[in-house]
Subunit: 227 residues, 2 copies
């Protein structure tokens, strides 16, 4: 009984969420702001990676960050401290995701109209965030080599909805059994168009290519907006 | 509107779940079966750790394992292959947790009455599984040093409901900034009674102490059951 109830409620939320996501995305496109949603399991390195990328790009673009966390504002503070950009904390009160409505409400309190790039750092979770389109133009996920090569098999939706997959912590490869070829096969079976970038947020290796991808996407969104 | 609906449904589920959990736990105690629920983020090493522990204990005790996964039966197969014990796969169809009802239904299909130790390997997620009492006697969580020292601050409920915390992958400590003293402070602020065991599932370091803890708990449950 209780399970059936959950499913019904979720279905109506998903349909409603998709509409709200389309609205968020249209607003961003019209404004010429490239909007990315960054997802991963806990401790995969989202905050460190984003801080490094923001520092590589902040002299070229106006960048903003919204950080979703259950309770603390640790990550938003870390990004603000590491980069000097304006970072906003969204506390989601214990939910395991952020949806398009929550994103829209957060945007009402955030001065995003001048931004070239808006980054949403989702909550550390490989299940729920994948179910909710936030309205971002692109989904980016981090996958740490310390988590093992089988993750796409175990969390297929996350890998299916992600446009870009950053394989992080490659500097520690000597300590972990991670098979890059097999990882790529697993990902492309679910999602043939996914771009994969091996990176180390710690040493900076591979981040130049991710920064180039962001530059191209910012240019594409600005072209659509006629800017 | 949609959010309010979610909260109402969740409240009734939580209350119902707590009752079902009490029933599961009473059944296990009466039978003299020590039942543990093992939780962590994705890729923290649950399957490898459990396989190693089962191999250390399987000549002394009859052990069973139930493995929750969204879609695959990879982990149940890995445990069965590595240990030779009977392992059961529970596919939860995309949910981010297993609750007490689902556990009870799984138990109907599993021959657990002879077991001294029953292990439930929960889904890899630091948020949702912490919200649902499964009826296990003890909650055990794995925390990998690769995930960083701040995790108790970010996922407080998981650390609050866990009786035992295994800090895993300590063999890779040279590659990661992990502060064991600070980690312990963070945990004990939330949960003063939590036992913490640093381990390496890969090298076996520290697992003897975890095995000793399991032996003590099995003896305690058997004493309660008068066995």
């Amino acid at each position: 009984m209780s399970e059936l109830k959950i499913i019904k409620v979720e279905e109506s939320i998903f349909a409603h969420n998709d509409l709200a996501a389309v609205e968020n995305r249209a607003k961003m496109t019209e404004n010429g702001t490239f909007f990315i949603n960054v997802m991963s399991g806990p401790g995969s390195g989202k905050t460190t990676t984003l801080s490094a990328l923001i520092n590589m790009l902040k002299d070229e673009y106006k960048i903003g960050e919204m950080d979703v966390d259950i309770k603390t504002s640790l990550d938003a503070q870390k990004v603000a401290d590491a980069t000097g950009i304006e970072s906003m904390q969204i506390n989601n009160g214990g939910l395991c995701h952020i949806d398009a409505d929550m994103t829209a409400r957060a945007l009402e309190h955030y001065d995003w109209k001048d931004l070239d790039l808006l980054i949403l750092e989702n909550i550390g979770n490989m299940v729920c965030p994948a179910e909710f389109d936030t309205g971002a133009h692109k989904n980016v996920m981090l996958w740490s080599i310390t988590e093992g090569t089988d993750k796409p098999l175990k969390y297929p939706l996350m890998f299916t909805v992600s446009d870009v997959i950053l394989i992080n912590k490659i500097d520690a490869i000597d300590y972990f059994d991670f098979d890059f070829d097999l990882a790529e096969q697993h990902v492309h079976k679910l999602n043939p168009a996914a771009k994969i970038f091996p990176i180390s947020a710690k040493t900076g290796e591979g981040l130049d290519k991710v920064a180039d991808w962001i530059r191209e996407e910012i240019a594409a969104v600005k072209a659509k907006a006629g800017k």
